[in-house]
């Protein structure tokens, strides 16, 4: 299945990507998706592991939320608007 993934703020800047589309064979949680994606960026992954916020289709979700085909997933640093 096909998942669109968005990165924001420092996270996006660090991995030099703001958006990717991923083909994944099985359903998995947003938390696992993040861990898998961060394998190439180990120190970054560890830094953000406990602080990252997850959104699926513009709604914040917990790390065990399971993605489905066509979802738009966002990995977000803690918000700092205002």
């Amino acid at each position: 299945m096909s998942i669109k993934i968005l990165f924001f703020g420092e996270l996006s800047e660090s991995i030099k990507k703001s958006e990717i589309t991923l083909e994944i064979p099985n359903s998995l949680s947003v938390g696992s998706l993040f861990t898998n994606l961060m394998k190439d960026y180990q120190s970054l992954g560890e830094k953000w592991q406990n602080h990252i916020l997850y959104a699926v289709n513009h709604t914040q979700v917990k790390r065990d939320f399971i993605v489905t085909d066509g979802d738009e997933v966002a990995f977000m640093p803690p918000m700092s608007g205002g």
């Binding site: 924001f8 703020g9 959104a55 513009h58 966002a74 640093p77 918000m79 700092s80 608007g81 205002g82």
Partner: protein, 140 residues
């Protein structure tokens, strides 16, 4: 874009859209780019948003506040893009029949906005460095 804009903003531009003859108090808040943060000298700021979600969260935020303070009328706007010192990043206006509710609802709006709306800011310092702001959600 309804609540986000790349143009200059101010609370007054919210006020003039509104007329609430039953309201005796208007409390506004403007978050302004200041020239220092955590002891560093700031030159300018860049605000980035997850725009679709931010619009949705700002709309939900207004609904949440108006549900908690049913007599209040809330309007707001948040700027994104490049901001200079003194520029307004966010403007909030709350009309209420009585002033206490206006102050409470306005402060609750900016407090909650900082926690729920997917916007991030990067500070550019006068020494040439820059940093994304990591928000502790204390008073700041």
């Amino acid at each position: 874009m309804k609540y986000l804009t790349k143009q200059k903003i101010c609370a007054q531009s919210l006020s003039i859209k509104q007329s609430h003859p039953n309201c005796g108090g208007l409390c506004t808040f403007e978050g302004i780019v200041r020239n220092h943060h955590n002891g560093k000298s700031v030159k300018k700021m860049e605000y980035q948003a997850y725009e679709v979600m931010a619009e949705k969260e700002l709309s939900s935020l207004i609904a949440y506040i108006q549900n908690k303070w049913p007599m209040c009328n809330v309007d707001l706007i948040h700027r994104i893009g490049n901001l200079e010192i003194g520029d307004v990043a966010v403007a909030i206006a709350v009309w209420a029949p009585h002033r206490k509710e206006a102050f409470q609802a306005c402060e609750a709006t900016i407090d909650r906005l900082k926690k729920t709306v997917p916007i991030w800011k990067k500070e550019f310092y006068t020494d040439g460095n820059n940093d994304w702001v990591i928000c502790t959600h204390q008073s700041e």
